[in-house]
Amino acid sequence: MSQLRIVLIGYGPVGARFVEEVLPAVEDGSIALTVVAGEDVEAYNRVLVAEYAVGNTELGAMLVGDRAAAEAAGARVLLGVAATSIDRSARIVQLDSGEELEYDRVVFATGSRANVPTLDGVERHRRDADSLRKYATQLVARDDALPAGITALRDLADAERVLAAVQSRKRIIVLGAGVLGLELALAAAHAGAQVCVVHHGPHPMPRNLDRGGGLVLRAALRRSGVTVVAHSRAEAVAFRTDDDGSRRFDMVVTADGKQLRGDLLVLSCGVSPRNELATLAGLRTAVGVVVGAGLASWTDPHVFAIGDCAQVVPRTEELAGQRVLPGAPSGLIGPGWRQAEWLAAHFIASVTDHGSTDAAAPAERDAIVMLKAEHIDVVAVGDISADPWDDDAVHPRRRVSQWADPEHLRYVKMVTEDGALTGFVSVGMPRTAAELTLLFERRGELPADRSVLLRFDGPDYDPSADADAFAPGSTVCWCNGVTVGRIEEAAVCGATTVEGVGRETRAGTGCGGCKGRVAEILARAAETDETPSVTA
């Protein structure tokens, strides 16, 4: 069997996982792997960039790639080198270093870049096929340069800019109230920065939360010291000229005329797949690179895509003719990792003859969204727009349960079909959220009494507390399994000291930790004994 030459474009966490999984076949020589990394750094976990940006962690703790191991196994890892074009007929990837790489399979793991919204004062590029052909060197594998004082939060360079602002306790304006923006806002506020979140929806995380959850979250944000400006569409940015002559961000101007001043503007307006190389190579792209259930491009069976840049659309005749395709990359790491694992296994199976994989990568369910913040717990998934009082006739099997306690910043909504969870929102109730997450992922049935799930987060949650400590059946001595009732019995029979009870029942003759409680029970028994003797 001849060697399969694979070129992987992109070395983020998904690319790194692919490398790790495919490595055994690289080691035994059946696969030749070249990684075109783009960034000049070992693959790191992008999920932790906000933590890094506020100084909570360091790069070393974020690294997920093991370049040394990959190279030891025989892979080439080209850090700081970008792919500039692909000649699919010749099966060649062209690099900005001038090198050309021949391939049998090329895998896109190029991820996504932060969106730059339409703002007066900020230049923004289209990346359609025509623009790409005209301005390839500016647009391919490069992000738009942003003016001083404005940054996205996607890579380490962005994070360094934010970190500088946080450390000097500057005023930070976060544009957008999605998960990433809020994570940064909370972490930065916690680290001592002044933070203001500006967004145009009615409440934060509008794509993930219903109104109840969103409003509770907004209250929680405010209590954490984050200013939230809702219903405000940013229209323009204005700049100021510092003493050193440099021009920097000064304020955001909203559609209704508000002027919000700050030292740093962080754009957190979603992400878009880095598609341009695929578009330029004539591959079908929609939101992302369009791939079928087997993660291969609709256009070219030698091209694959995984992670944030891949839009999985099982190909049908009907869909093939449509201009607009359903779905979008999830933007979450879990599905990307699963795709990387599956594709690596698929390639290995193809070169080893024996062993085949499923024809399709595992289908993903709605992805669970969690806000990573130390003091606010928000988890949501699925369609949670339904209301408990909705007309059953429309969705006869759907049921909605809800719990709202805005004062204490707690809110839960559970949507079920036939008892199984199809969506939920949980704010401020971490144990409940964790249990609901497990139930959702397993398609588990909720307990008939939904309030069981809420009670996990009660400060007094203690399943054993329903037992009265002095109830006859309550265990006092764990070593010897002696109950209150048995000790009272012994007391009645004349065992009036802790030692006497010990001889009679063995209570207190193990570790001895219960001797205090035995004494208490004896004291109570003595009291009740005395009462009748007084009246007699």
């Binding site: 997450t437 992922e441 398609r443 070593c479 570790c511």
Partner: protein, 708 residues
Amino acid sequence: MTRSADTHCPYCALQCAMTLTPTDVAADAAADAAATPVTVAGRDFPTNRGGLCKKGWTSAELLRAPSRLGAPLVRGADGVLHEASWEDALDRVAASLRGIRSEHGADAVGVFGGGGLTNEKAYLLGKFARLALGTSRIDYNGRYCMSSAAAAGNRAFGVDRGLPFPLEDLDDADTILLLGTNVAETMPPFIGHLAGAQAAGGLVVVDPRRTATARLTADGKGLHLQPMPGTDLALLLGLIHIVIAERLVDLDYVAARTVGYEAIRRSVASWWPERVQSTTGVPALTLRRLARRLAAGGNVYILTGRGVEQHVDGTDTATAAINLALLLGLPGRVGSGYGTLTGQGNGQGGREHGQKCDQLPGYRKITDPEARAHVARVWGVSPSAIPGPGVPAVELLRSLGEPGGVRALLVHGSNLVVSSPNIANVRERIAALDLLVVCDFFLSETAALADVVLPITQWAEEEGTMTSLEGRVIRRRRAISPPAGVRDELWILAELARRLECTATFDTEPELVFEELRLASEGGIADYSGIDYAMLDRGEAVYWPYPRGGTGTPRLFADRFAHPDGLARLVAVSVRSSAHPAPRPGELTLVTGRLLEHYQSGAQTRRVPELADAQPEARAALHPSTAERLGVADGELVELSNDRGTVRCRARLTTDIRPDAVFLPFHYGDEQAANLLTSDAVDPVSAMPEFKTNLVRLARLIEIEVPA
């Protein structure tokens, strides 16, 4: 006049000290026909401080229990067990073994040992297998117990001593993290040593059940984490992630005493707290608080039990716990450390002296030529006379009666048709044997299947040594004579060896066997060569390794770990997604475990009236909300089933268990045996089976009253 004997409890590895005083039978018999032949009293000792649990207090009940076997039993042509003389029974066994061996080879005879055997018995059993039987096929029930922690300890530290420090050290702890252990029920007097951590608010229990131990954390005494069964490894990787991300690592310690940090860092980068929350069900904030508490300084211990170890990824999970301890700089620091809580009475000594398939005395590797040469010298044979490595327990049992497999099995100190995973299969394999010989006090479930049953002495009737969970060697002493018809296993092995014409020495005096064990262990990892009965009888606190002419080692790792370079190994481990399939709708995760009243397979404790009365039958613990969905009320009969088997028992409703799980104690036999449902898939490193995350369906059984 009667003389009392200072000895230790017959049950768990805590080995509580007790004094047995023979009852003056002549005086008491008339007054109390039910009097036990000895009176049990707790004895002051650092581990139990004079206390005993219910099992210990009632242990003497078994000495003259009516069901105790008083003579060998041999299965007759009628298929029924009949009493026989020792001469006849041993002749029959020896003849049968010789026949099988000559026809099918030495490896057609297997030995299955136990972690309850004294050091002397365990040692001699290993020697008997290798020399008298010439077989490599020996393993033991400790495979179901300590194998994962042992493999992890050996890998990380180069040595496996359950607690590398005296138990009393725990008294001064500020924080103790208990991972998957329910000491309040399994070794109750242990919890006295948790009081310090409780007072400091630092007792942390990780268990999917709110066990008696988890309850010890209530009222501000600590924290109970209730992860989804099968997610312990993710939980630990999450804690390590936080320790690294928040810069809580003891970098000086890591640099000076370990290797492998970079790989660890990379292996946990993808386990951020919120991801761990969504995998385990434990809130991210709880994880952060715990990680910070562990790193806050003071005296900190991390202890693991079977709950995290009895898994197909048990070795990796124990390894992750060790990694966490190493990153925090705990092992080898006085007042802190990592340990595993050994379960069986001699679970420590029993895993050191040659009952394991790949091991020779002194925790030596059977594949190591130097080790073979040393042991061969002590045994007076050529190294080539010692067989090579055998196969671990599950594989050994799978081979019973199969072509090329084991055709005769000798069982010592184990009730394997209750304690092994996937019992239906084990029963089937046992039925395919040509010969099954079981040594026991009672007609256990396994003994009932035997061709020959040999009745043996109990703890109060014998001398020997045990090695407790803290690696301390202690004396078992004889208080009374055994009943006329029972024999000591040392004698049985010697008699069989003689009949098999083995010329090697098989002493029957425990002290002589121990003297030989000293020589055999000399220079090994578990070196006992400096220990003798006299010093134990003087009450010296003796911890191995104790080389000849040297001193004992109460605390290991003060200066170095046992690898040649003295450094501990940080071994990167990862979650295998296939290890613990999550329950599908309609399924529950079966967690098996223990009750206060019973010990292991229950062969002993189910025969103690007071214990049996308290817990007469298996009951499946079920969350009320799950029970409601299934239409099950407290005390009703239910059926738990999967494609391996079916268990029928009563339900017990409790909010102490997660709604997606069901708990069964494994102490019961027949149709209540929890291990009918467990999988015999094993850990790739330790060969530990999966006892804790099997999937089952549960349904209510309709009781039909049959008219009289």
